[in-house]
Every structure is written in C-alpha cells, then in structure tokens.
Amino acid sequence: MANDVLVFGEMRGGELKKVTKELINTARTITEAGGGAIDALLIGEGAAGAAETIKDYGLRRITVTEDEPVKNYSTEGYAKVLTDIVQDHKPSYILVGATAMGRDLAPRTAARVNGVMFSDCIDVRMEDGICVVRRPVYSGKLYIELAREGERPTFISIRPNNIPPAEATGDGTEIVAHSSGVEADMIRALVKEIIPLSGGRPDLTEADVIVSGGRAMKDSSNFKILEELADLLGAAVGASRAAVDAGYAEHAIQVGQTGKIVNPKLYIACGISGAIQHLAGMRTSKVIVAINKDPNAPVFEKAHYGIVGDLFEIVPLLTEEIKKIM
C-alpha cells in the first residue's frame, strides 16, 4: 500500500477534465514526501485517447476502461470499476475532482472498500508522513484540517481551480486496458441523456457569479459585452439602479436595496460607482471585482479587486483572458 496514489481522471464527452492535472499535482505532494507511485484511472468513452494527454506526467500506470456499459457515467458502473482497481492496486489515497461525478462516485466507492473520505478539499499537504487536508465547512465560513485514523483507502475530493495543475515531466507511462466487468443489469440508476443548460441565465439570487453594469454602460445595447462574459461564466447579469433608471436595463435585474439582494461567490461590478443603495444589495458577495474609470468611486471601498479604466476596453479583454483558462 505504501503511499501509492490513484488519480481518478474524470471524462466528460471524451475529454479529460482540467482538474485531473491538479489532482496529479496533489498526488505528487503526497508521493514526494511519503514515497509511492502515482497511477491514474480513466473510465468512459475516449479514455484511451485521453490517457495520451497525461502520459508524460510521471505516472506509473494509466488504467483505461471504455467498454460499452461504462461508456457513460453511472454511479454503480463506475463504482464497480473503481472498487476493482482500488482492491487490486491497493492505493493508499484516491484523488477525485470535487465535481458532480466525483462527489457522487467517491463516497459510494469509499463505502464499498471500507475506506474514508474527505470531501471538497482545497489543500493537501504532508506533515511528518501524515496527509493533512484542509476543507471549508459551514458554507465556507471556517476551515478545518483533518487526517485519517488508521490505514484505509482514503478518498480525497479536490475542488477544481484550487491547486495549480501539474507540469509534464517528459517520461512515458504504461497504458493498460481494463475490462469493466460491468453488466447492464448491475446499473439500477441509468443516465438516459445529458441535457445542456439552455441559453437562459441563472436567476440573480441563485447565481454563483454575477456580472453587473451601471450608468457607465451608456446604452442598453452595450450590455451585450456583459452578457458575453456572463455566459462564459454561467453567470447572471445585473444592473445598478442608475442603469435601470436610465432605461439601460429592466428593473427585474436591478441589484440593490430596491432590487434583488444577492450573495454570489463572485460579483463583477462594471461601471458602477457604488451608491450605498447598490452596495446594500451585494455587499455580502464573497469576492467583489470593481471595474471603474474613477479611482475614487466608492465601489472600490467594498471591492476585493479593482481595476481602474474603461470598462469597454477591460470587459472584452477579461472575457478573452478567462476563455483561455477554461
């Protein structure tokens, strides 16, 4: 068992998710301090092809499984494959992304192999040979740090975008095909289809990200540049009262005292000066970004990050930059 780590490489639509390289980097943190090798497991359609993209990342072995019953995700099908691999290779740690798939698959498999799981971790480090994870609790109001008790397969789900992705190290890896052994009737809950989110943006009060425009938008047609950014981020579009009063936006999307009170994880205020009416409606946002020409605008007092300049120049650049990292 030593300190071997198994990285679960999540596939969607035949492609390996970005978080996989972040998991590889986390795995290195564990093996560099405690010894052991890193393996990866890719399940689903296109797994063999996707394995090529992480071939040069210093892994000992990549197991790929893409036969018919596991072409698409199912809890039971994937849990069987993962269970078999864990029982066979006996890794000490199993890393998954804290994604819809990882959060569904890992606890089920952990139960099957009598393991333990740490969910939604944002940091993993080794302390005197012990793996310590950090995770937010109480909706991110506190962190806790945990370690396992005793030796058992330890599943760690890692939040995407928290740990920098691993760099290639240049040595090839053995890619091993594995037959899933899954029969269609083992799958009692079956995914029939995947329905992409329709063009409709999320509701302001439910959105994780909001892109909001103020009077400086100058015209309703200019909201297009905010919409482009919003769609990229799966965000809602909001407006300040000034923008609504000027007729640039509907009252339905007004953020503030007399509009919607919002609490997203990220609020991007574009050309909003930050009247107290507006601030009252969004001040509890986790991260506030202000884009404004006026360096003395009150919005900068509430913002965590600011950039002084013309929103019509900055917002499209921001959209481009974010596109690059997604």
Binding site: D104, A111, K141, L146, E193, E321
Partner: protein
C-alpha cells in the same frame, strides 16, 4: 408507499459562525439552528410524492441528532410528515459519515422503506457523503443533486434530473432508491398553523443506539479533526495595475483564480 426523509439540525445559513475558545468546534451560544436547508427540499418532495401516491403512503422523518433536533423534526411533522424516528445518543459521533450512515441504515431497515429523500449535503460540515454511504449499506441505487423528480405510473421507477457541470443528467432509476435534493427541486411549504397543531399529536420515536441493537456497533473512528481555522479576513481592495490594460487584466484573472479562488 413508505417514504423516508432524512433531516439534520444545522446552524442557520445566515448565522455568524465562530470557533469556540478551546478550538474544538464552533460556538453554539446565540446561533440559531434550523432544518439543514437542503433537507427541507427533501421533506417537501416526500410530501408531494405521498400526496401523489395517496392510499396508505406515509412520510417518516428519520433524524440523527441531539435532543434539540426535536424542534426541527416537529417542524417537518407540521409541514405534513406522518411520524418520525429520532436517534439521539451522545455516543454517536456525527462528524463521522460512516457512523451516521450505519445508524440511519439500521433505523431505516427497521422502519421499512420504498424511497429515501435527503438534502444534497448538510449545511454545517458540507460533506455530502452520508447518502451515498447509506445507499451502499442498503444496497440501493442513489441519485445525487436532484433538480427534478417524477415517479412512474407503476410506482417502481422514477425519472430524475441531476445537476452536473453545464447541464443536467436525466436519470432513470429503479426503486427503492435514495435521492439527494438540490435547491430548485421544489418550493418547500411552510409549516401551517393547523399543521403545527396536528404535529403535537404525531409520534416521534426517540431511540438510543441500544434501542437499535447497536450498543457497541457504531463503527470505527476513521478521521480526526486536527484544527479549526478562521477564514483569512479580506484586506483592502487590491487595485490591479500593469504596464498596459491587457497586462492588468491578465493579472486580475490570475489573482481571481489563484488567490481568490473565484474562477
């Protein structure tokens, strides 16, 4: 149809959470406790299913929690649930999902079940593990983070949507099944005043581990919390500058991603 809804007592999402003096948990004084938000959707979905199935369908609330959780159980009964099992034993270490799941599994088996609803995660430890471990222990399928639910005419299958990145998975599942509920699945009803009065007469079966025949069988401790840490306080506004605007924007994106973890 025997419908089970799982329920946890947790601090209100609006409550300010501080670490206690000993550094071993949170300060509970002055914190308002509620039904863990996502569990409310579970109760509502259970009630809707009961109303749809009619007959002798019944919604039973099952809760592992301290004595004070009675108030949350009573609220679920006031919403319309029929009865409740409250497993209350100081020996239960709630921070261990495997233990909670084992206790729930025993209580649910004793009660009998066709379908189990619960929240997608508790709003205190945010672990989102118990339902999947429980599903494994009961050997039934699971559907996590459901945003829609429909039972088949025959009542032995259900079609659901579950939220994934960028869309929904449409899932068809056999019953019995455990379903964890996401916000938006439904709009939970209020505990009406007639409901509150009726709830007084409904039965809450309070059980200790011994009553479940689990005196010493509550499972191994699998993890330990080493430290509780406050979230670092955000400082002043970081005004991003660069040689030119594109460089500044690039830096902003880097900060949002690496420092603020917001992208």
């Amino acid at each position: 149809m025997k419908i089970i809804t799982l329920l946890k007592r947790a601090p209100d999402t609006e409550a300010r959470i501080l670490i206690n003096r000993e550094g071993t948990g949170i300060q509970e004084e002055g914190v308002k406790f509620v039904i863990s938000t996502y569990d409310e959707y579970a109760v509502e979905e259970g009630l809707r299913l009961k109303e749809k199935m009619g007959g002798d369908s019944k919604v039973t609330v099952v809760c592992v929690g301290p004595e004070e959780a009675t108030e949350m159980i009573r609220t679920a009964l006031a919403m319309g649930a029929d009865d409740a099992v409250h497993i209350c034993d100081p020996a239960i270490k709630e921070s261990e999902p495997f233990i909670t799941a084992a206790v729930l599994a025993k209580a649910i088996k004793d009660n009998g079940f066709d379908i189990i609803f619960c929240g997608k995660q508790a709003i205190d430890d945010d672990m989102a593990q118990v339902q999947s471990i429980l599903a494994e222990m009961l050997d039934i399928p699971q559907v996590n983070v459901a945003t829609s639910f429909e039972i088949s005419e025959s009542g032995d299958k259900a079609v659901l949507r579950r939220r994934i990145e960028g869309g929904d998975e449409k899932v068809e599942t056999q019953l019995p099944v455990i379903i964890s509920c996401e916000k938006g699945l439904n709009e939970p009803r209020y505990a009406s005043l007639p409901g509150i009065m009726k709830a007084k007469k409904k039965e809450i079966r309070t059980k200790a581990l011994a009553d479940l025949g689990m005196a010493d069988a509550q499972g191994e401790i699998r993890s330990k919390i080493l430290k509780w840490l406050p979230i670092p306080k955000g400082g002043e506004c970081k005004v991003v500058e660069g040689e030119d605007v594109p460089t500044a924007v690039k830096e902003l994106v880097r900060l949002l991603r690496e420092e603020a973890k917001a992208l």
